[in-house]
Amino acid sequence: MKPVADARRAVAAARAAGAGLADAFHRCSHTRFCLDGPGDRFTEGSRLEDGLAIRAWLGRDRDAAWGFAASTDGEPVAKLAERAVWAARGGCGSSGAMPAEERPLPEAGRLPSTFDGELLRASQGELRRRVRRFRKATAVARRQGLPAAISIALTASVIETTLVTTSGTVLCARSTLAAVQVRFPTAFGLCRLEYASCRLSDLEPAPLVALLAAYPAPAGGMARVAVGDGPGSVTGDLVLAAPLVASLVGGVARRAAAAGAAVSWDSGAVLLDDPLRAWAPGTLPFDGEGQVPHRQVLAGPPGRVEGTAPLRLTPVRRSFKAPPAPALTNLILNGVPGGGPADRAHCLVLLEVAASHGSTVLARGVWQRRGRDDLPVLARLDQPLETWLDRQARAGSDPGRFFTGVAFATAPDLILKGVGLRPQP
């Protein structure tokens, strides 16, 4: 297999050029896309990405320095290796992370499934038909008030990665990734829903309709509301929609990663970073350093997070163009107890994050009021997600889909009963 041979030659060339340790990463991907845009413009095509990257270390321990070189242009691997070593010389004195010489290899039988034969075999015509099915499904949402100017983009990628190191590790993986992105104008502006999976069949249009139908059509203004008790507040139910919760758990995860320790909350819900979940879009058979990635609890009740090892995010290479960097893979919020539906006669449904800073979030949503039209709102939440989870949040429908944001994240709708809602001037 040529990528393995190239990577092996690259590692050998780096050693010959003076590197003590080296690894070579080859990534090749074929991405096809169909975009059914507004104004009946249909764009389709594909792109091939193919490149090799070499990391080379000089010296050892505190005196170690590393350099990185990546290229797509098929320059001789020996030259690329020389460039990596040249870069390492330029970086002498750095204490870059050294690769572990003893690497546990993933066992073939335990690798999570990430390769979808159906996606590989799907013709361009099949992708086109799938986009048309999405278009047809969104017509249902249109009848409920959404305008016709919707764009639907579908991408399907086949990815091959190879990692070879000086310590003799040779790892190869093949995976697929499918994603759908829908953009549509609403009362808030131009909104976007995007989710992904390793399996093409997971991108069914039907569940999208329920999500789209929750958005208010572009008419009228937007009211402001603050969530939380205070003077002039009225009590109602608060629903945090799954895409919004997926975005909020991203914030919790980043906070935990920055602190190096899991966040403790009183709710029974658990937030996991799971790079080994079968068919999830962020799943990795091996990490960017060639080791088996592991699940980590990023937030949970005291019993689950106390005594856990310090957090260390998975080193990930999403492209050959950059060295591995700690990153979130698949964020999963589970363990939220199920509950009855919200009181739709008096309920604030928050759909997406408009802006965030620290623990303050501006979210867009709809205020459903008995006997009156639904009111598009811009709501301010001044407390972090755990505050809402601590208030015995109940899970509504679980989408089972990974939304694309800071990381791939899946979460249920959260329903909170009896929350103070304060209209703002």
Binding site: A69, G74, K79
Partner: protein, 468 residues
């Protein structure tokens, strides 16, 4: 500049257009890029990352059907891979890397650039020493990225347009004991100009101001409300104007997704705004866009009235009153879209010192980390990194790491002062649309407006959007 890429692009484009049928149009594009990034962290040289690549793309269209294919590699093999993709509707297994020649690769020479590398490393070392001397007790992290990009475009008329673009971009991060942080990014066409345009004393002063702002307690500062006047400094004002101009991109206007479609009232009559990629020395300068059209100086707003938009070839075909010249792509792997180049605002009559000295509260924004806007609603988020509060012209508190939210339409209508102090931005701004960034520049005077309110102050994680 070798002519081989031009011949390859022309030959391939003619062949695929011939097969597509009458009325088909398109372009063939090739790119070669090399980025070398030097890091320095905690008084030590950091790693050096070198990243290079080449690739080619074909875009064809007939009526409302557009096909786009792209492939990595030297021009010859990449174009052949593009043609294979056009011909095949099924997925082939990804091909292995091709080592056959098509165009001489520049990356092979990169290993011989020790002299440039040494220059960069010694520059960073000198910079860190100077900053440490002026601001003791601060941990510095520096990154210098040197980008060298060459592009070739051939459209159906057969003309070859070759361009070359070089830029040096410096990022400085500072962290003081106690957690106060400061960030600054700037750039210039080459390292000599980088040193000249952003000299050490100026850099040190800006970092010191930011650190002082981060140290100050937010509770002592006034709160920015919708009626508070906000003065954006010369150069920095470009970020706000750029967010407005997103709504003037031709594809957004044609799709009905722009706020300015339904807005016939225009903006403040003090504003005359144009985009000028032909202006040399700015971050968004180019001679030919990524569709092979000559760079176009496009008037967008004349005395408050919207008179133009940023167009590309597809938009110009649909509407003859739209001129192409702003079709830009972040790399060969993305199709071009209408984007801004260098945004320029005509200078006004007001003196900036007089505006700063006016009675009442004034929030002065000197630098912004990023801005993001929704083109349809005009809702805007700005991440301020550096600024100050003035009252009756007197300094009362520094500002650092503040998020402001507002509506860009409201903001542009409420501009009541445009000063005479036109200046370029720091030279590192990037316009991100759908996740892909292209370099942009600003040449703007200070301007004052109202309608922004503070979302939160203090340290915040980086957000997405147009970045500085």
């Amino acid at each position: 500049m070798t002519s081989a890429p031009g011949d390859l692009l022309r030959g391939t484009l003619n062949a695929v257009l011939g097969r597509t049928g009458p009325g088909a149009r398109g372009e063939a594009f090739a790119e070669r890029v090399l980025r070398i990034t030097h890091y320095r962290d905690g008084k030590r040289k950091g790693p050096v990352l070198t990243r290079g690549g080449q690739g080619a793309a074909l875009r064809l269209w007939a009526g409302k059907r557009v096909q786009f294919v792209a492939a990595d590699g030297k021009v010859g093999p990449a174009l052949r891979a593009c043609v294979r993709q056009l011909e095949s509707c099924t997925v082939d297994p990804p091909p292995t890397r091709s080592l056959d020649s098509g165009m001489p690769g520049p990356l092979a020479q990169a290993a011989g650039r020790d002299a440039a590398g040494t220059h960069a490393a010694s520059y960073l070392e000198g910079l860190e020493t100077g900053l440490s001397r002026r601001l003791p007790g601060v941990a510095w992290s520096l990154a210098l990225q040197i980008t060298d990009r060459s592009t070739w475009v051939v459209s159906e008329d057969g003309d070859l347009h070759a361009s070359q673009w070089r830029w040096s971009r410096l990022r400085v991060d500072a962290c003081r004991e106690g957690g106060a942080e400061a960030h600054w990014t700037g750039g210039a066409p080459d390292m000599d100009r980088l040193c000249r345009v952003h000299p050490l004393p100026v850099l040190a002063r800006r970092m010191e101001d930011q650190l002082r702002g981060a140290d100050a307690s937010p509770s002592r500062r006034p709160v920015c409300t919708a009626s508070t006047p906000v003065l954006f400094a010369a150069g920095a004002a470009g970020v706000v104007l750029h967010e407005m101009v997103h709504g003037l991109e031709a594809d957004l206007l044609q799709s009905g997704w722009s706020r300015w479609m339904s807005d016939s009232h225009g903006v403040s009559p003090l504003l005359t705004l144009w985009d000028d990629p032909t202006r040399p020395g700015l971050h968004g300068s180019y001679r030919y866009d990524d569709e092979g059209c000559p760079a176009d100086r496009q008037l967008l707003v004349r005395r408050g009235r919207i008179v133009g938009c940023l167009g590309d070839r597809l938009a110009a075909e649909a509407r003859p009153d739209i001129r192409p010249g702003h079709g830009r792509r972040p790399s060969w792997q993305e199709p071009p879209m209408p984007r801004s180049g260098n945004l320029c605002l005509a200078a006004g009559d007001d003196q900036v010192e007089a505006v700063r000295g006016e009675r009442g509260l004034l929030l002065v924004v000197r630098d912004l980390e990023s801005g993001a806007t929704d083109p349809r609603s005009g809702d805007l988020t700005l991440q301020v990194t550096e600024g100050e509060w003035l009252e009756n012209g007197r300094f009362i508190a520094p500002v650092s790491r503040m998020v402001l939210v507002g509506n860009v339409v409201n903001l542009m209508r409420r501009v009541d002062r445009v000063c005479s102090d036109r200046a370029a931005d720091a030279g590192a701004a990037t316009c991100s649309r759908e996740g892909a960034g292209v370099p942009i520049g600003f040449l703007t005077p200070s301007l004052r407006t109202r309608g922004l309110r503070v979302l939160e102050e203090g340290a915040a994680p980086p957000e997405t959007g147009d970045r500085r």
